[in-house]
Symmetry: C2
Subunit: 358 residues, 2 copies
């Protein structure tokens, strides 16, 4: 309900303060908890999620800008705008994915808050893989493989480490410097594990859970063709998010149960691009809500086709908005420009003109 | 091109400072000039405008939240998010239309700036009617009629007064208090005209140009059925912006040349909902770019079906961003949260962890 004309700007400084105060592990655990609650209670009567759309282009650099809307009916509309520009790190020393998340009051259209979407997307993508792995991976999984050691790999490892007792983490990246720097990047997580440099064949052969989060170019996938693997291998395929971009071979997908986060999107941008409708399993939320045991999934090959679902953004944005409110963080601005007289767009310019009114 | 990770927040205070410094008439004239330039030079090769989409609902209050994207290829993506909630004034004493406009760099996805869209929408909607009237209304028009005396009426009168030598303005609103307060609301425009309270029949009968900007409910239109009017009457139909919402009778539309601002949208939300494709004239931009004389339009009945086109938002947002930059206004924040190491989403939390890296 409309409380104030103020918009809260939750910027990078506020995010840092929030995480330092709450604690990084606690934030990830809160997020996993909230996301699980939202999935378990998800109903299309209450939440409307249209497919995202956007502009994609090859000039001046390959990229896209997309908007991902979601409405919690009678409450709010969340819109994440996300840019994906794989040349960003090389050209500008900034992340491939830049984004912000905005929340609008669906009573009035007022912009409630706007918050960073870069760290929040990385966090919720990690939390999503952890929850999907809890559903579909072997419950005693101890061996994690990471293919693609960019920004997303840090939050994948972080989130999975909160739900699984990891003993081994094997990593691979086509860029050796990304492999070398990952140990230092996860140092703040205080995991009692040394990362092992590996290759794709060995990772697929030895892991219980694998996360693929690469910047492989559209039409250049999959990452591997032939493979040996454990019979229960679960893969979180995180990288595919662009038409033509795929990470996993069709031969693997056809042997695995494939669970998309958001079917309409996964068939356009995800691994599901490669599959016929009858080859795709139930969606993430259906699986989460199913009363049947997930043991069958946990014993066979499985894939979480993670293309990014707006519900995840709704959950992480509101988690941080709640933290900000509780901690008194974020800056309040009057972004929408109007006067006390709602019929006078110029009222705030000439408040003395009020005296002319009867 | 990417210059800085900063996002400029151009809030209500900055807007007030800009207009007080530049001058309200100068701002409107600059906007009309820039908008005309953008229309004359518009090319689908350079500008991509998808149809807007959004959520619309009847509970808890009738309303919608829409996003209106536009891309200037190789430069920027502008997204206006607009809420339309006709109960806002009554329930919350805030405007029916609330909105913000964001500009993203299409090289990187970075959010360049975010600016108020409430006043800016009112300004550009006025400027658009003025430009459409310059194309289609009789050049010697002196008599203006206003049906609907809400917020939009102020900027309609303002913009038209910059291009026409208005001698008479007749006004009508179903709410007498809105009629009574309009004279005071336009006082800062320093127009040498007294508004005359009138009714729809008289306004249609006596005006050279009419602007309809009402909140008539969907399925309750049109505003009038039978009419007498001057043979060259031009109507700027501004109010229709919702499926089922119309202001003008079909009998009038069929006798007039009807020019939509954005055809794909006008057939869903505008007066063009009522017309078959062959009854709709060329779009605004085609008319603007046509080398033929507009005299035929200026001598007959004509309608500008103004549903709001994202190009207008691109123009007004950039005008205000340019003003803000020139005047050093707007607040700079780091909204996107990332560290100097683009591969380390947690880098900004633990800058001391850098020392662990080789």
């Amino acid at each position: 309900m409309f409380k104030s004309r103020e918009t809260i700007i939750i910027d990078s400084d506020a995010i840092i303060q929030i995480i330092k105060t709450i604690g990084l592990h606690q934030v990830m655990e809160d997020l996993i908890f909230e996301l699980r609650e939202s999935l378990v209670n998800f109903s299309e009567k209450e939440i409307e999620v249209p497919a995202r759309s956007g502009f994609n282009y090859k000039k001046p650099f390959l990229g896209l800008v997309e908007w991902m809307p979601v409405m919690k009916k009678g409450h709010e509309v969340i819109i994440k705008v996300v840019g994906y520009h794989p040349d960003n790190p090389k050209l500008f020393k900034i992340p491939t994915i830049l984004s912000t998340i905005s929340s609008y009051d669906s009573h009035t259209g007022h912009l409630n808050f706007i918050v960073d979407g870069v760290l929040l997307t990385a966090l919720r993508t990690g939390a999503s893989s952890a929850l999907a792995s809890q559903l579909m991976a072997h419950p005693d999984s101890t061996s994690l493989g990471i293919i693609g050691c960019g920004a997303q790999s840090v939050t994948q490892i972080h989130a999975l480490s909160r739900l699984f007792d990891l003993k081994e983490i094997r990593i691979f990246d086509t860029d050796p410097s990304a492999m070398k720097s990952l140990q230092a990047r996860i140092a703040p997580l205080d995991l009692p594990i040394n990362l092992e440099f590996s290759d794709i064949d060995e990772i697929i052969a030895t892991s219980d859970i694998v996360c693929t989060a690469t910047s492989i170019a559209p039409e250049k996938g999959p990452l591997f063709e032939h493979y040996e693997c454990k019979p229960h291998l679960h893969i979180n395929a995180v990288g595919a998010d662009f038409p033509g971009k795929i990470e996993l071979p069709l031969s693997f997908l056809r042997k695995a149960k494939v669970c998309p986060d958001f079917l309409e999107q996964a068939v356009v941008e995800g691994e599901c691009q490669q599959l016929a409708p009858e080859e795709i399993g139930p969606s993430w939320v259906k699986l989460m809500q199913s009363k049947e045991s997930h043991t069958a999934y946990q014993k066979c090959l499985s894939v979480f086709d993670s293309t990014g679902w707006a519900l995840e953004d709704l959950v992480v944005a509101n988690l941080f908005a709640d933290y900000a409110e509780k901690l008194g963080l974020g800056e309040k601005v009057n972004l929408e420009s109007y006067s006390a007289d709602e019929k006078n767009p110029y009222g705030m310019l000439y408040s003395s003109a009020k005296s002319l009114q009867k």
